[in-house]
C-alpha cells in the first residue's frame, strides 16, 4: 500500500518507509520542530511511519507556508536519516579516536611497514645523537 504525503487541514502528514528511515532519525528531525508545532509519530502500517506536524495555536500558518513546511519536513527527514547513517557507521571509529586522544600512549601503535630507503642504505644504522 502506498501513502501520499499531504496537507490535511492545517496538519502536515509525511510517510516514511521503516526499512529506509531509522526511528532515531525521525525523532532527531522532529526535535527541531517541537517549539512551533505539535509533533506526532505513529505507524500507518507495519512498514510505514506516519509523521505529523500541527501548528501550535499561537503559530498559525497559511496554505503557502504549509506547502513550504511540507517540503522542508520531507527534506529534513532525508538529511537526518543520512546523518544517522554516518553516526551509526562511524560510532566505533569515533570511540576509538576519543580513546586514543585521551590515552597516555597505551593505545599507540607503530606505523605499518618497515622504514627503508630506495637508494639503499640501512636507515636502522643511523645513530641518533
Amino acid at each position: 500500500m502506498s501513502f501520499q504525503n499531504r496537507i490535511e487541514g492545517n496538519e502536515i502528514i509525511v510517510f516514511a518507509d521503516t526499512s529506509l528511515y531509522s526511528k532515531d532519525s525521525i525523532f532527531k528531525c522532529l526535535y527541531w520542530y517541537g517549539d512551533k508545532y505539535h509533533t506526532n509519530v505513529s505507524f500507518a502500517d507495519s512498514n510505514t511511519y506516519k509523521v505529523g506536524l500541527k501548528p501550535m495555536s499561537d503559530n498559525p500558518i497559511s496554505s503557502e507556508q504549509a506547502e513550504k513546511l511540507l517540503q522542508k519536513l520531507e527534506r529534513d527527514l532525508i538529511d537526518f536519516n543520512l546523518r544517522d547513517i554516518v553516526t551509526k557507521e562511524t560510532k566505533n571509529i569515533r570511540d576509538l579516536l576519543t580513546a586514543k586522544a585521551f590515552s597516555n600512549g597505551e593505545f599507540d601503535e607503530l606505523p605499518p611497514g618497515e622504514i627503508s630507503d630506495p637508494v639503499g642504505f640501512n636507515v636502522n644504522e643511523i645513530k641518533n645523537d
Binding site: 532527531k28 527541531w32 517541537g34 517549539d35 512551533k36 554516518v86 562511524t90 569515533r94 586514543k100
Partner: protein, 498 residues
C-alpha cells in the same frame, strides 16, 4: 659484450598510481557532520573541525558511496586528505587524527586556570542592567573578608594548573584596593615558593583609579581590564554614575593606565545593550580610535533581559544584524591595512582555520565552568561562573558549588559539579550531537538555565544556538565570497595563544 645499464636508484616520487592501494574505489566513512549553508552549498565538518564546502547533494553522494575515485578524483582526494573517508576500515592515520583531536581539547590539560575573586560588591555606579552591585559604605557586609581571601588563595594554588590567573572583580574592585594588595602580595609569595605562574588582573571601571594605584599595578605587573560600551552617548546611558560622566572617567583612566603600565597592559570589554544595537559603527570606531587592537562584540546578557519570551528572538535577530554591521566595519579597517580584530569571530576562526582551540568558557566542550574558571564570591560562596553568582543575587543558587570553607574535592568534584558535568559537553546534547558546528561551538548550562529554565536546554528556541549558528554560517559565507576576507580571517586565526 655490453653490460646492461644498472637501474639507477633514486628518491624521486613515484607515479601517483603507485600509491593507489585501493583499486576498487570502495571507501569507508570517518565521523563527520553536515549543514546546509545556502540552497546551493553545504558544509561538511570532521571530528577535528576541518571543513569542506561542497555543492548541495554532495553529502548524500558521499554517504551513498557514489563518489567515484576516477571521475570525482579531486573530491575523492579532498575527502581522503581531510579525514572524511578512508580506504581502510580503520584509517592508517588514525593516530594522527587522534593527536589532532587531543590538540583541539588541549584546554582540558591543566584544569582550572582562572580564579575570580569578587573582592567587593560595592560600587559607585548605578548601571541599570547590573543586578549585582550595591552602592553602600558597608565594608563589613559587602567586601570579601581576609579569611575568605586566604582560603581562596589556598584553593587557587591547589589547582593542578601550572599557571593560574587571579582576577579581581566587583562591584568596583578598586573600592577594596587594600584587600587587593593583601591578596596580590600573599599570592605572589606562595607562587614563588611553589613555582607556579601567576597572572593578576583587576577588572575596574577606572572611575576612581589614581596614579598611586597604577604605580602599584606596574610594580606588581597587574593587568587592567575595563569596561567601555562605546561612544559617550552609549556608554553614559548604559553605565550611570551619579553626578558624573562615566565615559569621561573611563577614557581618562585608560589614558592614565596606558601611560603608567604600557599600552598593551590595558584591555576593554563592552556589553551590548538594547541601546548599543543602534550604534554598531560608532562602537567599533570608538575602539579603533582609542587604539585598541580589536573589540569583543558580546551579546546581550540574559540576566537583564527577559529571554524566555518571544521578544528574545527579536533581540537575538537584532543582535545579529548589529553584529554583522559591526563586523563589516571591522573588515573595512582591515582592508585599509589595519590589524583590528573581532574577538568572537576570532575564537570561531581559530577553531575553524587552525589546528588549535581556544579555552573560552561557553564556546568549548566540555564547558569552561569549573574546569576553566571558578568564582569566589565576596561572601565566601563558590560559584561555577561569573554569571552563576549573578543568578545567586536573584536568589537562584543552582550553580553554587559550596563555600570557601569546603575542601577542594568537595567544590570541584562534589555532587553539584557532577550534576553540571552531565550537561557540559555538546557532543552529548540533543540538537548538538549531530550539529555540523559542534566542534566550533560549546555548551553553556548556566545560560540554558537562566534563559530556558533547565541546564540541559532546548536548542530549537535557544538564543545561544541561534546566535552561534548564524555567526558561524556568516563567517563561512564571508570566507567563501571574498578571498580578501579569507586572508584576513586566516591572519586572525593565527593569533592563537597556546
Amino acid at each position: 659484450m655490453i653490460d646492461a645499464k644498472p637501474e639507477r636508484k633514486t628518491r624521486k616520487f613515484k607515479e601517483s598510481n603507485y600509491y593507489d592501494l585501493k583499486k576498487d574505489g570502495q571507501y569507508f566513512l570517518l565521523p563527520f557532520r553536515f549543514h546546509r549553508i545556502t540552497t546551493e552549498k553545504e558544509i561538511i565538518v570532521n571530528e577535528v573541525g576541518d571543513f569542506l564546502i561542497l555543492p548541495t547533494g554532495t553529502y548524500e553522494r558521499i554517504v551513498k558511496r557514489q563518489v567515484d575515485k576516477e571521475t570525482d578524483s579531486e573530491l575523492y582526494g579532498d575527502l581522503i586528505a581531510n579525514y572524511f573517508i578512508s580506504e581502510e576500515v580503520i584509517s592508517p592515520l588514525i593516530d594522527v587524527l587522534a593527536t589532532r583531536y587531543r590538540t583541539k581539547k588541549l584546554f582540558l590539560n591543566h584544569f582550572t586556570g582562572l580564579h575570580i575573586f569578587v573582592i567587593s560588591l560595592r560600587c559607585e555606579h548605578t548601571c541599570h542592567y547590573c543586578q549585582v552591585s550595591r552602592v553602600t559604605q558597608n565594608r563589613d557586609k559587602y567586601d570579601m573578608s581576609i579569611d575568605y581571601i586566604d582560603k581562596g588563595i589556598e584553593i587557587m594554588f591547589k589547582s593542578p594548573n601550572p599557571h593560574v590567573t587571579m582576577e579581581f572583580q566587583g562591584g568596583e574592585a578598586l573600592l577594596a584596593f587594600d584587600n587587593i594588595k593583601y591578596a596580590v602580595e600573599k599570592a605572589e609569595r606562595i607562587a614563588k615558593e611553589i613555582g607556579k605562574g601567576l597572572t593578576k588582573v583587576i577588572c575596574t571601571n577606572l572611575a576612581i583609579v589614581t596614579e598611586e594605584i597604577l604605580e602599584y599595578c606596574k610594580e606588581h605587573e597587574i593587568l587592567i581590564s575595563t569596561s567601555l560600551d562605546g561612544p559617550k552617548l552609549v556608554h553614559d546611558n548604559n553605565r550611570h554614575k551619579p553626578h558624573a560622566s562615566s565615559y569621561e572617567l573611563t577614557i581618562r583612566g585608560i589614558e592614565l593606565a596606558r601611560k603608567i603600565l604600557g599600552h598593551d597592559r590595558v584591555s576593554a570589554l563592552m556589553t551590548t545593550t538594547k541601546l548599543s544595537l543602534d550604534y554598531p559603527i560608532e562602537i567599533v570606531d570608538e575602539y579603533f580610535n582609542l587604539g585598541f587592537q580589536g573589540i569583543f562584540l558580546r551579546n546581550i546578557s540574559p540576566y537583564g533581559f527577559a529571554l524566555r519570551t518571544e521578544k528574545s528572538k527579536y533581540d537575538t535577530e537584532k543582535f545579529l544584524t548589529f553584529y554583522k554591521k559591526a563586523l563589516d566595519r571591522i573588515l573595512e579597517y582591515n582592508f585599509q591595512g589595519y590589524n583590528f580584530t573581532e574577538d568572537l569571530a576570532r575564537i570561531f576562526l581559530i577553531k575553524m582555520l587552525s589546528p588549535f582551540n581556544v579555552g573560552f568558557v561557553d564556546l568549548q566542550s566540555p564547558a569552561g565552568l569549573i574546569n576553566g574558571v571558578i568564582v569566589f564570591n565576596y561572601d565566601g560562596g563558590v560559584y561555577a561562573t561569573d554569571e552563576s553568582r549573578m543568578l545567586a543575587e536573584q536568589k537562584d543558587f543552582t550553580f553554587k558549588l559550596g563555600t570557601l570553607n569546603d575542601s577542594y574535592n568537595e567544590l570541584f568534584f562534589g555532587k553539584k559539579a557532577q550534576e553540571i558535568a552531565e550537561v557540559w559537553a555538546n557532543e552529548s546534547l540533543a540538537g548538538c550531537s549531530e550539529c555540523a558546528f559542534q566542534q566550533y561551538c560549546g555548551a553553556d548550562p548556566v545560560h540554558n538555565h537562566a534563559t530556558q529554565g533547565d541546564m540541559y536546554g532546548y536548542r530549537p528556541n535557544s538564543d545561544f544556538c541561534q546566535k552561534n549558528m548564524e555567526i558561524i554560517r556568516y563567517l563561512i559565507e564571508l570566507i567563501e565570497s571574498d578571498q580578501r576576507v579569507k586572508n584576513i580571517f586566516q591572519g586572525w586565526a593565527r593569533t592563537v595563544n597556546h
